[in-house]
C-alpha cells in the first residue's frame, strides 16, 4: 500500500514556514500517482492535503510547463527547439522523432507509449541537440541517433 498523498505531502509541507509552499511538490507527487498527468481529482487531493481549493491548485499547475493537464504516454520525449539547439539542427531531430513515433509534437502515440513534445531551452545549449526523456537529458543528439533511441526506449 503506498502512503496516502496527504501523509507524503504533510512531511514536505513541514519543511516550509507556510504549507502552501508545498503545492508544487504536492502536484508533482499527484502527477506521478496519476500516471504522469493531473486529472481534476488530483487537484482535489492536493487541495485537501494542503487546505487549498482545487481551483487554486489548478491555477498553480497551469502556470508551469511540467505539469500535464492531459494524459501523457508512458515515456515523455521532449526535444529542445530553442535557438541554440535550433542553430545546430534541432528541427531535424524533432522531425526524426515525428517520423519514428508517427505523431506530431504535443501528441501521444495511439498505443499510449510515447508523448512527443517540443520544449523551450532545457539548459544544455553547449551540447545540441538536447533531448529529455522522462526528464533525463541526452546531449548532442542528431537526427541520425533518433531511430536507435526510439528502438531502445521501446524495449526498456
Amino acid at each position: 500500500m503506498p502512503r496516502p498523498l496527504a501523509d507524503q505531502v504533510r512531511a514536505i509541507a513541514a519543511q516550509y514556514p507556510e504549507s502552501r509552499s508545498a503545492v508544487m511538490p504536492a502536484l508533482r507527487i499527484a502527477q506521478e500517482r496519476h500516471g504522469g498527468w493531473l486529472p481534476p481529482e488530483a487537484f482535489e487531493e492536493v487541495g485537501e492535503a494542503l487546505e487549498l481549493t482545487p481551483a487554486y491548485c489548478k491555477g498553480v499547475a497551469t502556470f508551469y510547463d511540467m505539469f500535464h493537464l492531459a494524459p501523457v504516454g508512458r515515456r515523455l520525449v521532449e526535444v529542445c527547439t530553442n535557438i541554440c539547439c535550433g542553430l545546430r539542427g534541432a528541427q531535424e531531430v524533432l522531425s526524426a522523432f515525428e517520423r519514428a513515433l508517427g505523431v506530431q509534437p504535443g501528441e501521444t502515440t495511439p498505443d499510449g507509449e510515447f508523448t512527443l513534445r517540443a520544449v523551450e531551452c532545457i539548459g544544455g545549449c553547449g551540447w545540441p541537440t538536447v533531448v529529455a526523456i522522462d526528464d533525463r537529458h541526452r546531449l548532442n543528439v542528431t537526427a541520425g541517433d533518433v531511430p536507435q533511441i526510439v528502438q531502445e526506449l521501446r524495449h526498456e
Binding site: T53, A55, Y64
Partner: protein, 741 residues
Amino acid sequence: MSTAELVTVRIDERSVQVPKGTGLIETAAAAGIEIPVFCYEPRLGAAVGACRMCLVEVEGMPPKPQAGCTLTAQDGMVVKTARTSEMARVAQNATLEFILVNHPLDCPVCDKGGECPLQDLTFRYGPGSTRMTFEKRTFEKPIPISPAISIDRERCILCYRCTRFSESVSEDNQLVALNRGAQTLIATFEDEPYTGAFTGNVTELCPVGALLPTQPRFQIRPWELQSVPTVCGLCPVGCNIDANQREGKVRRVLSRNHPEVDEGWLCDKGRFGFNHLYAEDRITDPLRRVRRRGLEEISWEDALDDAERLLREAGGRIAVALSGSETTEQAYALAKLVREGLGAHTAMLPEEIGGGLDAFRAPLSAIRDAELIVVLGDDPVVERAPIVDLWLRKARRAGAEIVEIGPAGDIQTAPGTTARACRRLIRGDLGDRLRASERAILIWSGGGAGGGSHLAKLAAELGLADKPGSGAFFLPETANGRGVAEAWAAVSDEEGPEPEPLSLLIVSGDEAAANPNVRALAERAERVLAITMFHSLAAGWADLVLPGTSYLERDGTYVNLEGRIQRLRRTSIPPAPDELAWIAQLAARFGIELSPYPSLVFAELSERAFGGVTYEDLGEQARLPERVPLEAAPAESPDEPVPAKPAAGALQLLRYRPLFSGAAVERVAELQFQRPARVIELSAKDAKRLGVKRGEPVGVRSNGTSLELRAAINKKLKAGVARIAEEHARDLHPTVEVSKP
C-alpha cells in the same frame, strides 16, 4: 489614530499636502489630477502594478516610467503625469494600445458601455485608431461562471481584480487565473459555478464588460438608469446601496461605499435579491377570507372597513407579531394604533436583543483595526451578517487574533450555551487578555434570548466602555429588529396581560408570517390579520390580508446592528399603497393622529427615542450615534434552558438560518444555486463512529420524523453535534439519531 506627518508633493507643477504614505493616485486626486488606473483598487490589498495604466515620471527615480499606483507620497517628491510628461503620455498610450490589441471593441453590444473605465480611459488617453491587423485572441463567450454571473473572456484585460477579490477579500479562492502569459484566462475549477456569499462583487470590480451580472443582461443601458441611494434591508448590517431603477422598477443593486459599514462590498443576497419584488405570487390587492372559496380580492375601502371591524371587535385582546423588516416608522405607527388606540400591549418582537449595548457602540470598521476579537455563538457570522465576515477576514489579515467560541469554534461549546460562555470569559485568561487590550471586539453571532444584555454585561466587566477602539456587536436575525423594538417601546412602556382568549393576531411582514411560533399562536387566535407580500405566506390562515411592501419600495429608516439609523429611499413603486399610508388612515378611525409621511413620523419618533435627530441629519451616509454611557449594570437575562444531553449515540441538533434562505431568496431564480445543499454536518469523530463518508446519504430521525440528507464532515464541529440548515431540518426535534440508511 495619530495624525500622520504631512508631506508636500509636486504633481504637474501643482503642490499638494497629504499625510505621508498616502497613495500617489490619491495624492494626485487631492491635487485635482487624474492618474488613470485599471488594476489599482486599494480595497483589494497592496497595489500590484499589473495593468501599467498609471505610468508616471518621477524625478530622481530610474529614467523610465514608474507605476504610480505602487508609489506613496514622500516629502519633496516631484511627479509628472501624462499631462506634463511626454514619457508618461507615450507610456499610457502604449498601455491602452496593448490592452485594445486583443479587446473585441464591441462596446455597442456590451452592457458595460456607458460606465466602462476602459471605454472612458480610451477616450481620454488612448490611440485614436488601431495598428493591430492580426487575429485577436478568441474565446467561447459569454459563458456563465454561475447562474448569476457571466464571463466574456475576450473583453477581459487581465487586471486580476476579480481573482484578487476571491483570493484576498472573500478568501474563497474559487475564481482563479489559469494558464500563463497571453493564454491566461479567468475561470472557476472545472467551470463549476462560482458560489459564495460575495461573488457578485466581482461584477462591480471588473473594469470592463468581462464579468457581468446575468440579471439585467441586454435589458438596460447604464445611462437610462436612475440611481437611488438607499440601504439594503435583507440583513442587520444595512449595507449602503445604490438601487438602480428604470420605469419604476429596480433593475439592479450596486454597492455604495460606506467606509464604516460595508467598505463598498455587498453580499449576493443584497445584490441579486431584489427580483423577489416581481415574484408571481406577489399580493397586489387586499384579500378577505370567504368561507370555502378561500381568499378573495376586495377593494381598499372594504379592506379598511374590515380591518376597523376586526380591531373593534377584538376589544383590546390583540397581539402583534412583528418581523423586524418593517421600517422604524411603520412599527411606530402600528404600535401607536394598537397600544395608544386600543390599549393592546402584547407583541411578539422579532427577537429579544436586550439592552446596554449602546455603551459599547463602535463602527463595524473597528473590527478591522482590532487586535483581539472574540466571536461567540452558535451561528456562522457569514450566515447572519455577511459583511461582518469580511471585516473579520480583513482583521485577521492585518494580524488580529480571532477566537471563536461555539459549537464549531476554536473553543468548542455546546449549542445554546453562549450565555454561559460569556460568563466564563469574565474570569479566564482570554478575559484578562481582552481586558488588557486597547482594541478588543466582542461579537455575538447566534440566537439566545437577551444575547445583547449578556454581551453588554461581559463588555462592562471587561471595561470596554472606556476604550474607543473596542466594542461589542450583537448580530440580530432581522434587518431592523432593533429599530422595531425601539419604536414599539417608544410608544408606551405599559404592559398588559397576554390576551386570553386571543381575539386578533396581527401578523406584520413575511418573516413573522413564516415563523412557526407565530403560526402556533394563530391557531389560538380567533382572527388573523396578515400583512405580507406573497400569496403563499397568507393562504390558509389569514382572515384579512393586506399587501406588504419591501425595503426597496419604502421611505423610512432602519436601525442596523451597530445602532446606526439609516435612510431607506423608495426606488420602486410598490404595487399597493405602503403600510404607513393605510395604517395612518386606520389610526384616524380610532382617533389617533398619525402622519402618512415617513419624515413626519420619524420626527415624532425621534423626539421620543433618538434624541431628536432629523432626516437631514441622517444624510446619505449616516453617522454612528455616540455611545450612551451605562447607567447601571445591564440587567442579566435568564439563560436559555440548556438542552438535555442527548442519549448515547444520539446527536444534538444545531439548526441555523442560512444567508441564502427566506421568502425573498426563494423567489429569485439566480440565487437558487446558492441555497444550502441538503446536507447534515457531522464532526469528524461522529462521522467515523457512524462509518459515513463525505457525500454519503444518511438517515436522520427524531421523534416520529425522519429524513435523508447527505453527510458533510465539518472538522471544526464539536463531537455530538449535528448541524442542519433550518429549511432542511424542518420538524426535527433537538435530539436526532443519525445512521446509514
